[in-house]
Symmetry: C2
Subunit: 262 residues, 2 copies
């Protein structure tokens, strides 16, 4: 059965075959966090809402069994039905270029929303894959639209989320266009650090969920270059790198190296 056919048949079938390719398995029990008591609600979609409204948002959100590492949430070209909030773990979004290479367009951590690039054509414009075991909340877009019409704060917040995606993409464009390999990698490390601290995690010590290849792919560099930059940073005692384990030793030094406001 093709993926898209399965899509057509919808949730029920996904229930039945519960397997491999398919995206979200419906949950009978478990996974029952509500937006109201989710520890991410201050940085995620509910951010702008009163508790009554949060309850309504909660009603349209579907939670599910976690995705395993390297499992797809959706693929480029799939019918667009929902956007997704990362609840735990990490995801990457990527496009495949016409000559078969991969362009990573973003990394998504808990509290962050992905899939908004599918709205314009009703088709997902990129693929999304779990970098490690990850749980996501599915937010059916038509429900979100209806709710947005009724709740100005939600409409506003969702406009803002999309706008943020745009400004972040513009940041990346600038980075790719104007900055050296050192600056690009340093910026990414700082970005992850900042996002971690928003989630009340350590800003100076973390484990990278993505491979060097993914980093290179995101930053427009080869693996070798990424690896060399890490070595250089370590020699300069700005970072301690132990495989995927990162410790920022000198934040100021890293910022200087990044040479950008990020």
């Amino acid at each position: 059965m093709s993926e898209s056919l399965r899509e057509e048949l919808g949730m029920t079938i996904r229930l039945a075959d519960a397997g491999e390719n398919s995206v979200l398995k419906p949950c009978v029990h478990d996974y029952q966090v509500s937006c109201g008591n989710c520890r991410l609600n201050s940085i995620c979609l509910p951010l702008a809402l009163e508790s009554d409204d949060i309850a309504q948002l909660d009603d349209i959100i579907q939670r599910s069994k976690p995705l395993q590492k390297s499992q797809h949430l959706y693929r480029e070209g799939d019918i667009f039905r929902s956007v997704y909030a990362v609840r735990s773990g990490a995801m990457k979004a990527y496009k495949t270029t016409d000559d078969g290479r991969e362009q990573v367009t973003g990394f998504y951590f808990p509290g962050e929303i992905l899939g908004m690039d599918g709205i314009s054509n009703n088709l997902h414009a990129s693929s999304a894959k779990a970098l490690e075991t990850a749980a996501v909340c599915e937010i059916p877009f038509t429900s979100l639209e209806k709710l947005s019409s009724l709740m100005p704060n939600l409409q506003r917040h969702f406009f803002q989320l999309m706008s943020r995606e745009i400004t972040e993409d513009q940041q990346l464009i600038t980075l790719l266009s104007k900055n050296s390999a050192d600056e690009r990698v340093a910026s990414l490390m700082l970005s992850i650090s900042t996002r971690n601290s928003k989630r009340k995690l350590s800003a100076t010590q973390f484990r990278l969920p993505m491979s060097r290849v993914d980093i290179g792919n995101y930053l427009g560099l080869t693996v070798e270059t990424v690896s060399r930059v890490f070595s250089r940073m370590q020699k300069l005692e700005v970072l301690r790198v132990d495989n995927k384990e990162i410790k920022i030793l000198d934040v100021a030094g890293l910022q200087k190296m990044a040479n950008v406001g990020g």
Copy 2:
């Protein structure tokens, strides 16, 4: 007189005669096109609307005196109040990097909307400048939000517009990250060609409103490289270039050169 100095003086005058922050001078008469009879309404905001709804949209839109070449519509850091539709001419959006260089983030032609990157923080995240004499329609965002709540089609369409901006930025990210100078310039020429044909203009012959510097800045290349690419294309008889006048001689050749689906 330096460009920036002239700009400064321009600002003061605008301040004096048009009232504080506001960029667009209110129009007493003239410039009175309505969305209903605008020849761009099939590719612009009204696209999704019935004529009753168009009339309502029309009510919130402000038109104004044209912008002169190199005049700013808004600047990075300005309070965000409106998005803008280009009515005639062409605009560029750009950010200034911390070390003072410029990153062009987009070119905007008639029917296209700019300014959406300001929604996320209520501050414009980039500056917008006229590449040639240009007219724009100002769409106050709070009015647009209210109207969107009432008109599902408008809400949907605006979500789609923002989503399109995201996918276009992702295209550019891929271009910058994966493609050669030849491919980048070829892609831009094809993009302009496509957009021209949507506006019922020639897909094979047009005048570039932007300088080589702007093109380079947008594509992450130096002027010299852009110039060399044009020379190469001319030698290969793919393009005829006469200063800013472009004629595409071999569309297939150009597509092959671009090596991307654009």
